[in-house]
């Protein structure tokens, strides 16, 4: 029997708020339910067929056994689709009061209020608020929930959807393809630079509600966008599943940065597939911080398809107690002069378990490419665990490869040194952890960086002895 862990969100003074769900499918999954989801969302036939095909693939796939333990997920006990409001609210005034209340209780950053029109917030399986800032619209930028984008921009949608992550890629990509709802769709026209980061806040707030959002970003030639997703979740009693798919297309000379701060409550299985397709001289940057969840399996990927394409993945994982963060990165070099950089930092505390899993492959065509991998692990005590599984498949002899890995312990001696300056243990640990992650936190927009430092400090305060 899985027991419900003590959740840190309670320390944040968040109390669960009850909602009136307008529509939901019965628990469990079958073809009928998949068809129902599609019908409810009034989708074109191709999408219904796509979902049904994906469902068959999901049924025929086994759970991965090489990573974290997923055997406790009870697929029959999950509600795969529900909508809290029937229509997407057009302005902030249309957002239901109880949802606004949740935002207030969560203390959603001021950023949201300032850039309200640039925010897309997901509540349960549907976007409840979405506004597009006027100047974004003027520039031809599309920022919609994915369901609406399917209706409004069918051509560009179909051209990219599931092209870099097909349903057959893995079990959870197949599941997401069958039942997806919500998520963001972004199109940045040629040469357009989006100055403010586009942001989305995700929440789950119902027992056993799986979140299967689907995000698709297309950055046309020479454009730039920074997308930020931050997750916070109130309390539940039983396990919850989150299996998202994020696809990014970086066209010639474009640059996309995608920042995630994942802080699901500690009963959530977070099994997300993220992948970018990068064309000539394009740049893709994933900044991926995983602090919450019970289990996370996530390996953001870049396929460096065009000459001179660059990929960077900054990965941060924090596992406390029974948490398992199985995270990493995947870089595929397909073209000459491509370069990739992976920087991974993990912190394990009080029996927490972090695994770094990396796969870098350089094809024979990718002449004169460079690969840089560095992964550092920090262990806060003897009970905690860190594993590293770096795999490199280099099939091109002109490749520059650099690989560094370190494991550091916050030993008694460092704590004694800091105590000798009058600093108490919990503060010393927080300082060392924040110092360790600093190179990654620097890359995160300020308001999120502050929130993340606060989260880490909160986690550290719970330390005893």
């Amino acid at each position: 029997m899985p027991t419900s862990p003590k959740l840190d969100v309670q320390q944040l003074h968040i109390s669960p708020v009850s909602y009136d769900y307008k529509y939901q499918t019965p628990k469990g999954l079958n073809e009928k339910i998949v068809a129902q989801i599609s019908a409810k969302k009034e989708e074109p036939t191709w999408m219904t067929d796509f979902r049904l095909k994906a469902y068959q693939i999901f049924r025929n796939k086994k759970l991965p056994t090489w990573g974290a333990d997923l055997t406790d997920i009870d697929f029959e006990n999950i509600t795969y689709y529900l909508s809290s409001t029937d229509n997407i609210a057009r302005t902030w005034d249309d957002v239901p009061d109880n949802i606004k209340k949740t935002y207030d209780t969560l203390g959603i950053p001021q950023a949201e209020k300032d850039y309200l029109s640039g925010v897309s917030a997901q509540f349960e399986s549907e976007i409840v608020y979405e506004g597009i800032k006027k100047d974004l619209e003027k520039q031809g930028i599309v920022f919609l929930d994915t369901g609406t984008a399917l209706k409004k921009y069918p051509q560009i949608f179909k051209e990219h959807f599931a092209k870099v992550i097909p349903p057959g890629d893995n079990t959870f990509a197949a599941l997401n393809s069958a039942v997806w709802s919500g998520g963001s769709f972004i199109y940045i026209p040629k040469g357009v630079h989006v100055k403010l980061p586009l942001q989305a806040f995700f929440l789950i707030n119902a027992k056993n509600v799986g979140q299967f959002e689907r995000t698709l970003i297309v950055a046309d030639e020479g454009s730039f966008v920074h997308y930020v997703e931050g997750c916070t979740a109130p309390t539940y009693s039983t396990s919850s599943l989150h299996a998202a798919v994020v696809e990014v297309f970086v066209k010639k000379n474009a640059r996309v940065r995608y920042t995630t701060i994942q802080n699901w409550s500690k009963n959530v299985y977070n099994l997300t597939t993220k992948r970018a397709w990068v064309e000539e001289n394009g740049i893709m940057e994933w900044v991926d911080a995983n602090i919450g969840s019970k289990v996370t399996m996530k390996y953001p990927a870049c396929i460096l398809a065009g000459e001179g394409a660059k990929g960077q993945i900054l990965s941060l994982a924090y596992a406390n107690g029974s948490q398992h963060q199985d995270t990493g990165a995947k870089m595929t070099h397909l073209a000459p002069n491509t370069s990739s950089q992976i920087i991974s930092k993990s912190i394990s505390k009080s029996g927490g378990h972090c695994s770094y899993r990396g796969l870098v492959s350089v094809s024979p065509k990718a002449k004169n490419s460079s690969v840089h991998v560095s992964c550092d692990a920090l262990l806060l005590d003897e009970d905690s665990r860190s594993d590293t599984y770096p795999v490199m498949k280099i099939n091109q002899k002109d490749t520059t490869v650099q690989h560094e890995a370190t494991v550091e312990k916050i030993g008694e001696e460092k704590l004694f040194y800091m105590a000798s300056r009058g600093i108490k243990k919990s503060e010393a640990e927080s300082m060392l952890v924040n110092g360790f992650i600093d190179p990654i936190v620097k890359e995160i927009p300020l308001e999120y960086a502050i929130e993340m430092n606060r989260l880490i400090n909160l986690e550290m305060e719970g330390s005893v002895g």
Partner: protein, 239 residues
């Protein structure tokens, strides 16, 4: 006596059941300079760590450590230090991602950062510490001499009542030693110094009021500054 800042009574210390220090009795006065000398492995560093309350050292029950008229034996290291103790480390550890400013700000939460920063810069100039070093992770990629200077700099900012210098003179070149010694002399005022050293080197620049010789975990000799010279000439000898 009110003039006593630190008093050790029957201090017996073990590590993993091995007795390192045996019944040390010592009274240290305010504003005086003490040198604790002894051969390698005699228990000099253990003495420093025991006074600070390092968790790996077991202090025997009958022992007493009284600092500034307060029994500190049950206090954790950070609390002892906040009473006005300070230890400069023999081999200061590198703190990844933590600068000297952050460390000192955390150590003195009520002091304004700009004030700390100003002091750090001024002391750094006096100690001839490269400014660039201050903005890096503390002690990272710093030479032996630079590390020792940074220890001294922290002591100067925190202004403790008693400072234990654990081999501040080892791994330090002649010029750095002179900088360190003149800094120690300049800022001593009414601070008590306990200089733990193997050699007489530093004592040529910082003149001790009293020299205490530690051998096999016991105090074997005590004397004036000339005892240090005698030891330099004749060695510790057999006793």
């Amino acid at each position: 006596m009110n003039n006593i800042i630190l008093s050790l009574k029957n201090l017996t210390v073990s590590i993993k059941d091995k007795k390192i220090l045996n019944s040390i009795n010592l009274d240290l006065e305010k504003g005086k300079i003490y040198a604790i000398m002894g051969p390698n492995g005699c228990g000099k560093s253990t003495l420093a760590n025991a006074i600070l309350g390092h968790p790996s050292y077991e202090i025997h029950e009958e022992s007493k450590i009284v600092f500034n008229q307060k029994d500190i034996n049950k206090l954790t290291t950070d609390k002892r230090v906040n009473e006005g103790l300070f230890l400069t480390f023999q081999t200061p550890l590198a703190l990844t991602g933590v600068s000297i400013f952050e460390l000192l700000k955390q150590a003195q939460p009520n002091k304004e950062l700009h004030k700390i920063s100003e002091e750090v810069h001024n002391y750094a100039k006096e100690l001839k510490v490269n400014e660039e070093l201050l903005f890096r992770s503390l002690n990272q990629n710093a030479s032996g001499g630079e590390r020792k200077k940074l220890e001294l700099l922290q002591a100067a900012v925190l202004k403790p009542k008693l400072i234990i210098f654990d081999e501040i003179d080892t791994g330090v070149d002649v010029d750095a030693l002179k900088d360190i010694a003149s800094f120690m002399n300049k800022y001593q005022k009414d601070t008590t110094y306990v200089i733990i050293t193997h050699y007489n080197r530093i004592l040529k620049h910082v003149n001790p009021d009293k020299v205490i010789v530690l051998e096999n975990g016991k105090i074997t000799r005590q004397g004036k500054a000339n005892l240090a010279i005698e030891i330099e000439d004749k060695g510790y000898g057999n006793n």
